[in-house]
Subunit: 423 residues, 2 copies
Amino acid sequence: MMQANDPALKSFIPTPSESHFPIQNLPFGVFSNAANPALRVGVAIGDQVLDLAALAESGLLIVSPEVFRQPTLNAFIALGRQTWRSTRASISELLRHDNLKLRDNQALRDKVFVAQDQVTLHLPLEIPGYTDFYSSKEHATNVGSMFRDPANALLPNWLHIPIGYNGRASSVVVSGTPLQRPNGQLKLPDADAPVFGACRKLDFELETGFIIGQPNALGEPIDIANAEQHIFGMVLLNDWSARDLQQWEYVPLGPFNSKSFATSISPWVVTMDALEPFRVASPEQQPQPLPYLQQSGKNGYDINLEVTLTPGEKAQPQTICRTNFKAMYWTMVQQLAHHTVSGCNTRIGDLMGSGTISGNTPDAFGSLLELTWNGKNPLTLADGSQRSFIQDGDEVGMTGWCQGNGYRIGFGVVSGKILPARS
Amino acid sequence: MMQANDPALKSFIPTPSESHFPIQNLPFGVFSNAANPALRVGVAIGDQVLDLAALAESGLLIVSPEVFRQPTLNAFIALGRQTWRSTRASISELLRHDNLKLRDNQALRDKVFVAQDQVTLHLPLEIPGYTDFYSSKEHATNVGSMFRDPANALLPNWLHIPIGYNGRASSVVVSGTPLQRPNGQLKLPDADAPVFGACRKLDFELETGFIIGQPNALGEPIDIANAEQHIFGMVLLNDWSARDLQQWEYVPLGPFNSKSFATSISPWVVTMDALEPFRVASPEQQPQPLPYLQQSGKNGYDINLEVTLTPGEKAQPQTICRTNFKAMYWTMVQQLAHHTVSGCNTRIGDLMGSGTISGNTPDAFGSLLELTWNGKNPLTLADGSQRSFIQDGDEVGMTGWCQGNGYRIGFGVVSGKILPARS
């Protein structure tokens, strides 16, 4: 295990055991604050942001400050995996409770730390491409049962291919961005023709996403044995979905307007290095996949996931889903090997969504579509109101963390509030 | 009509009547040459490239030379529609046979002109997003007849929605880029399980693409009445397609590996201004589309299109399809209004493919899938060989032009040669 992952490490920045950002995590993001509105790269530690541009300016990092004085992580990521790792190790070293260099230099601390509640977090990446997979067997089974045949819920290709599609990168937004309910075409059950109007079945999809750190060239597939080295880290992802638009538009070329109006991601990118201690075996695959998809070792990750719904300004968030990433049938390395086996190239900052993460119990389903079984069984909230789908003013929050012994490697939150449709 | 479109205009650069690049066209592209390997913006005129960076350095354009010393057109496009138009007008003025300023300054001519056969043409755009539509009724009917039911070939949504999907922007390449045949999963007709291997049904799709010149913000749809102002210009596009991969993978989320291995575009972007004289009414739409898709005026364009296949190094190109863009059922402004009606944002350089352009006679079909009816009726080439789909070593070329009175507004060529699959 890497030194920076040692559970015994402690920082001089206090991190309670439920904090998402102990010294073992050190996720990268992009922030600004009132005192310095320039976007720059930071690392979350406890309730603070460590300003890497300021830290590098002070000569405490090998990487040039210019790399961190950027509005995205892409320039840093482009320096390569060894640099990601050595930078994380250097930061870990500087933040240790027994390292006096930063701890006891108050002037420097004033320069390099900003309280998280004082910063604005920005979209951490320039995202050249966004791909979304469909890799939860439970989710695919639920959808197939609802819209096709419960006895043959999985389509014939599903057990052979980590099914995915190209999403719309332009509309990926950072957590906290409010979103208009989309307008579009819907076809009501008894109607002959579609109508235009606001989506009536607005949904979330609980997902994670991974970020390409090392690209591959056109025509040069990524071998599954090396795929992990191409991944910089992971985020939480809400694949907002307009179910009524989707049902009308999706044949034969897949979802389009029903998804492309917005996708939200969490602001902190948790590195694969920080997640390393939480690797687990992924589910057994039967039938055995084709050789280019055969993996060795543990390629699942034990990440607890929860979704909350907050029905309006004054309400309390209410947990409506609890599940875990480790149940995902197709793994990230399989997704990446499949994506590139045709020769398709990837680029630094590409975002690859997992697909909706659903567990095998009804409280572990990762979308309202599944939680309410397409509206047949509405959820009753604490305030007595019911939800088949998302209402205007609702805020959806997602959180995730790996549970260590006395500490958490957390993702923070991805949240988004739904505003009324444009009239 | 704009002055720059006057059919009577003549340039001191000779342009025979069949040239694609008379003074009435002036398409923009990105080039380099042996003497100056820096990528920069140029305009095609006759058999020459006019180097806009050099021209601007000489003080003959209002736009800063820096804008043209770029590896893509994006910076120029970002200056806005008035600048596209005024720049084209200035260039037109400078190239007129009766304007002595450039014509009679040999030293300047030596600086600003490079013969087209001496340049390398590059991908003209940074393409943040690539969307592909499916807007030819004849094509959708052919595909539906082949794979579903000839009596109900069009899916219920097709006449209501300009169906589209997100493509893979990373693998858009410029004409002339050779491409490996993709590998992937295929399921043979009598097999229970898929196999891995090289695509056996490699196809082209004859398309055009339009380029976003003026973006829209997230949540702010483009009204169809203004949509045209958002379009910078058009290119030819070959949406390479692996039919066997596609058939196995495409349910329920659409084509993925079958398309994302490569898309080729022509190097010269023909402006909407140059195409203006060739507007025609688009086909009548029945049923009438929903109000957000209702258009006024002429939104079709009379663009002749041809596809050639060259079976190997020493062979002659053979024309295998002749059709016209004007038959397209859904127009570009409808595509753009639909794409953004959900609030989806677009960005400068976004590429929007038309979908395969097929006419209503068998020699006007825009893909081998249709021309050979999924291989049932192979084409016999001049050398006696047959083609159901593309073979290794084949080169596919596409060309297009608007026919004026004694001149053509042409797109040049998009071509690509298929290399054997990676083993």
